[in-house]
Structure formats: structure tokens, C-alpha cells
């Protein structure tokens, strides 16, 4: 398997404990009745990196990031943001802490227009009494700002920012959701299978957006099934298996087929330590 060298070649990963993780999860447990979603998962995200999470369907990837972002409350375990313990009770808490997430189900309001979706939950209000008394939205400022942010992210031109999101193609909707997270994140961005439903060209666009976010210095957690994509953009790869972590590898230490073998349980990280990573 070839390794895809990329623009900003990922630096060899230093030993994990020398740097303070931006986000760290320890022994997270989440059950749904008898179903065990997470069975004691550890995760570390370091500054400026793209951390991929791979795993079979049902391995607990979405559950993991939902716990990290306050969409679920873990049953046990702890989470640290910049070394400080955090307890997110709802998604808004994670957002307020600077974590932005694009969920697998693409949390958008399909009937609302693009600008409204970008600012949903943090609308700009007009200055003066129109805003403070009448709570009036500053639609023009939001529209202008949204246009700039979208083009900064290299999301071509969506000509009509006031069109309903449901009239967009899958790739364009995904772009809106990624743009929203990139616009507001101050700590990190989490993307759950952002390219699963996309074609080749649209996938390329989303990967470019991930690079763009990374270039801004924000770390990214990327969940994906697509090994070539993962090996292209990830600095490290967290392998999730049956609700637990099966180990962390890098695109340098292991090949795609080794990663798949660990992910499916055909082998383990102990049996396949890979090249020094």
C-alpha cells in the first residue's frame, strides 16, 4: 500500500505523554439498557493534529463523539479539556467550551435557509433597541459574514445563501455543516463520517476543508470508514472495536490493510506492532 504524501507532511508523532492533550477522555462508559456502546474508552487529541477514529459499524464511534460533545452523558469516566475536567450536560455546553461537531446525522434544519442554519443558536442581533428590546436579528451581517466564511474555507460560491438547505445536494449540505463548525470552533472540530454519502469530488472538497481547519491550528477528530481518506489526512488513527479502543496507530506505522485487520479483530495491535511509531 502506498502512503499518500501530503502538502504539510505529518510530523512523526512524539511520545504521547510529552504534550498536554487538547481533549482527553479516560475510561468512558456508555450503555443503552443492555447494549454496551462504550466499554471504557481512552482517547487523546493533541494540539494541531487530525485524529482519525476508525472502526466497524456499531464499534461505538458515534457514541464516543456524542459523549465527548454533550449529546450523551457518559455513565462513567472522565473528560479533560486542556487538562481541566469538564462535564457537558448538553451539546451547548461543549459548544460554549469551543468544541464544534458535525454529527453523522447532519444536524441541520432542512427547511431553513443556509444563513439561518449557519447561525442557528447563536444569531447576531441588531445593535441598539431593535436588538435589545425587539430582539431583532441582524440578517444582513449574518449573510455577509457567512459568505466570507464560506469562501475562506474554499467552499466555492453558493450563489443564494437564502435558499433552503433541503434544496442543496448532499455535498453542499455537508459543506454547510462543516462550515458552521469551522466558523465557531475555538478548541477543536469533530466530524462524524462527513464523507460517507458523498461522491469523489465532494469528498475531496470536504478533505480540503479539514486541511484548512487544521491549517488554522485547530485539531480535528475525523470519523471515517474510508481508509484512503483517513491515511491521507490523519496524523494518528484511533481504532475502535466492540465499544473499546483497540489501539492507536499512525499512517507511518501501519498499512491500510493492517489497520483494517486490527479494526475487524483479525489481528491485534500487540500482534502487529507495525514499524516504530
Amino acid at each position: 500500500m502506498t502512503q499518500l504524501a501530503h502538502g504539510s507532511a505529518p510530523a512523526p508523532v512524539p511520545p504521547a505523554d510529552t504534550r498536554q492533550p487538547v481533549l482527553e477522555a479516560r475510561s468512558l462508559v456508555k450503555t443503552f439498557g443492555r447494549v454496551v456502546g462504550l466499554d471504557g474508552v481512552d482517547l487523546q487529541l493533541f494540539p494541531g493534529e487530525v485524529l482519525a477514529i476508525i472502526g466497524d459499524n456499531g464499534a461505538g464511534k458515534s457514541t464516543l463523539i456524542k459523549c465527548l460533545t454533550g449529546a450523551y452523558t457518559p455513565d462513567a469516566g472522565e473528560m479533560l479539556l486542556d487538562g481541566q475536567p469538564v462535564h457537558f450536560k448538553r451539546p451547548q455546553d461543549a459548544r460554549d467550551a469551543g468544541i464544534e461537531t458535525v454529527y453523522q446525522t447532519l444536524a441541520v434544519a432542512p427547511a431553513l435557509d443556509i444563513t439561518s442554519n449557519l447561525y442557528l443558536g447563536r444569531e447576531f442581533r441588531r445593535k441598539g433597541p431593535l436588538g435589545s428590546v425587539l430582539r431583532m436579528l441582524d440578517k444582513k451581517a449574518m449573510r455577509d459574514n457567512a459568505g466570507t466564511s464560506m469562501s475562506d474555507l474554499g467552499i466555492g460560491t453558493i450563489q443564494n445563501m437564502s435558499q433552503a438547505v433541503e434544496t442543496l445536494s448532499g455535498g453542499q449540505r455537508q459543506a454547510v455543516a462543516v462550515a458552521r463548525s469551522a466558523m465557531f470552533a475555538t478548541k477543536l472540530v469533530i466530524l462524524d463520517e462527513p464523507t460517507a454519502a458523498l461522491g469523489v469530488k465532494e469528498t475531496g472538497q470536504v478533505l480540503k476543508m479539514i486541511e484548512e481547519v487544521k491549517n488554522r491550528g485547530l485539531p480535528v477528530i475525523l470519523i471515517s470508514h474510508n481508509m484512503p481518506n483517513v491515511f491521507e489526512v490523519a496524523d494518528r488513527i484511533h481504532i475502535q472495536r466492540l465499544g473499546a479502543s483497540a489501539g492507536v496507530i499512525t499512517p507511518q506505522s501501519h498499512t491500510m490493510s493492517e489497520a483494517v485487520a486490527i479494526m475487524t479483530g483479525a489481528t491485534t495491535l500487540a500482534e502487529t506492532p507495525g514499524r516504530a511509531g
Partner: protein, 343 residues
């Protein structure tokens, strides 16, 4: 309406960029402006009824239409808010009656001055809406079930409180029945109640289209889980919607006293279905998340126009009932169709 992120590259992109048939364009325009259908129905009906009997367009008969539809139009505002959140309110009429009997009895039997009696009545309506909201958000019961239950509860409370007796407006302080006062605008006779309804529509339309709260109402109705994930406090939005709806039903109670000239616990028997009818004919989706409050005003007026037009045409009133039924089904079918618009 087309959007081009990049030049077409794949077969799917070429497909997406294909030319659209006229039918698809109609679908897209209706999707962007769902209120077009009720506007067209209203214009067409008015033209036909005027041709059949020119008295339809007389200022007197039009004034009467507005006065007749005012109460249902007002109730439809609250109903619209709730339907926008993908809910439904079957306790509309019961809350309005309860508020109305409180206004009437307080000011008559207990000698309370008019304005405090009105305020207490409106407050009780608001509280009733809050109760609906709490049951929907805290106990997590479907709105249909909650309001089916409170329909009986509030109806019974209204009857018990009033001992089943009507109160004549003449025996109440003038302000309680002020909403029935008419004044002339050109050749039209307008009541204070009609003006109040229009003001309520203007305020609600402003709140829905110009404030963050309005966006959140649409987002919650569109996809509550998605709204939660983007950080909207879904339960707070729902609670506010049911409470505001109760407030509007309370104000409607005041309008109703003026319109009816009395406060009867047995009034408004069809209010639930009539308000839902107005909302649906007005192009608001029963599935939530799309529609405009002004559509409900049009919907209420359309019903009034059919009543007036068909009676002036000398047709049995059952044809109105029949026509409205057809309109409701057509409106929902159109809504289903335009919701299928995709890029």
C-alpha cells in the same frame, strides 16, 4: 434557484444541473413561497363569488366576513405556532372559553373592574397554555394526547366555574365588551376585535421571521433532535410556544365577548377543527417546520369567504362544509408534494 459549487464533473452533477420541467419549477416556487396557494385560492374564490352575486364584494358583506372570521383567525395564531413545532392543539376552544368565563364572571358577579378582570382572564389562558407545555416537555406526552386531555379538563373547569350559565355582555363593564365596538374605515365597518387580531398577526409574524426565537421554533419543528444537537434548548422553545399560544387564546376570549355580545360556556364548539383548518389551508405543514402565520389569516378568511359567497349564491351551507373539506385535503396534498423538492 440553481446553485453551482463547482463546474459539473460527474454524471450525478450533470444530472443535478439538468433542465427542469415547468411542473418542477412550480414545485420549487411553491416550496420557497408556500403562501402562494392560499393567496391564489382567495383571489379565485373572490372573483367567482363576485361574478355569481355582485353583493359579495359590497363593503358591508366583506366587513361581516372579517368580523365573522376574527375569532377563528386569532385562535389560529396560537395553533400555527404549535403546528410549526410539529404539535397540535385540541384545547384551543376550551382555553378561550375558560378565559372568557373568568373575565365575564369576575367583572359581573364579583364586581371586579373590567381591566383587571380581562387581565386575570388572559393570565388564566396563559397558565393553561403553560400547563399544556409542561405536559408536553416534562412528561413527554404527544401534544395530541396532552391537548385531548386538557380539552376535557379546561372545558369542565369553564362549565363548573360558570355553573353552565351565560353572561350577557350588557351586564359587564364596557371595556370587557369594547372589542365589539365598530368604527368606519371608508365604507367598511371594522371592529376593535378585528384590529386586535391584525395586530396579533403582525407581532407574531415579526417574532417568527425577525427573531432568533422564531428561527428556533422552525428548527424545532423541522427536526427536534437536530435542533438539540446544534444547541437549541428544545424544551424551552416548546414551553414558550405553548405558553404564548395560551396567551393568544386568552386575548381571543376578550375578542369573542365583543363579537358574541355575551359569554357562553357553550360557544366555540368547532374552534379546534376550524383553527386547524385555517392553518392547514394557509399552507402550514402539519409535519412542522414550515409555513407562515399570515397563511393562517388567509386560511381563516378563505373559510369566511366561502361561507359568505355560497350563502349569497343561495347554495345550501353544506356545500361550504364540503368545499372546505376538499380544500383541506388539497392543501395537505400540495404540502406533501412540495416537501419532496430536492436539489
Amino acid at each position: 434557484m440553481t446553485t453551482a459549487t463547482h463546474q459539473p464533473a460527474t454524471a450525478a452533477d450533470t444530472f443535478a444541473a439538468r433542465r427542469q420541467s415547468p411542473v418542477q419549477r412550480v414545485q420549487q416556487v411553491l416550496h420557497a413561497y408556500p403562501t402562494i396557494s392560499p393567496v391564489l385560492v382567495l383571489i379565485a374564490a373572490s372573483v367567482v363569488f363576485t361574478i355569481v352575486n355582485s353583493r359579495f364584494a359590497d363593503p358591508q358583506s366583506l366587513s361581516l366576513v372579517f368580523q365573522q372570521v376574527a375569532v377563528v383567525a386569532a385562535l389560529a395564531i396560537g395553533q400555527t405556532l404549535i403546528i410549526l413545532t410539529a404539535g397540535i392543539d385540541l384545547s384551543v376552544g376550551a382555553i378561550a372559553i375558560l378565559s372568557m368565563m373568568i373575565m365575564a364572571k369576575l367583572s359581573m358577579d364579583h364586581g371586579m373592574p373590567g381591566i383587571p378582570a380581562i387581565i386575570v382572564g388572559i393570565a388564566v389562558g396563559t397558565l393553561a397554555g403553560l400547563v399544556n407545555g409542561l405536559l408536553v416537555t416534562r412528561i413527554k406526552l404527544p401534544p395530541f394526547i396532552v391537548t385531548l386531555g386538557t380539552l376535557s379538563v379546561f372545558t369542565a373547569l369553564g362549565l363548573l366555574y360558570s355553573k353552565g350559565q351565560s353572561v350577557e355582555a350588557a351586564s359587564m363593564p364596557a371595556v370587557v365588551n369594547w372589542t365589539g365596538t365598530t368604527f368606519a374605515v371608508g365604507q367598511f365597518r371594522i371592529t376593535v376585535g378585528v384590529v386586535l387580531v391584525l395586530v396579533l398577526y403582525a407581532i407574531t409574524a415579526f417574532a417568527l421571521s425577525q427573531t432568533g426565537w422564531g428561527k428556533h421554533v422552525y428548527a424545532v419543528g423541522d427536526d427536534a433532535e437536530a435542533a438539540r444537537l446544534v444547541g437549541i434548548r428544545v424544551n424551552r422553545v416548546l414551553l414558550s410556544v405553548y405558553t404564548v399560544a395560551g396567551l393568544i387564546y386568552g386575548i381571543t376570549a376578550w375578542i369573542l365577548i365583543g363579537r358574541a355580545g355575551s359569554a357562553s360556556p357553550n360557544a366555540l364548539t368547532d374552534a379546534n377543527l376550524e383553527s386547524i383548518t385555517a392553518v392547514v389551508i394557509g399552507g402550514t405543514s402539519l409535519f412542522g417546520g414550515r409555513g407562515l402565520v399570515v397563511g393562517s389569516l388567509l386560511g381563516a378568511v378563505i373559510v369566511g369567504v366561502f361561507r359568505s359567497g355560497l350563502s349569497l349564491a343561495g347554495v345550501d351551507d353544506q356545500y361550504r362544509v364540503l368545499a372546505i373539506g376538499v380544500l383541506v385535503i388539497a392543501a395537505v396534498a400540495v404540502d406533501q408534494w412540495i416537501r419532496k423538492v430536492r436539489a
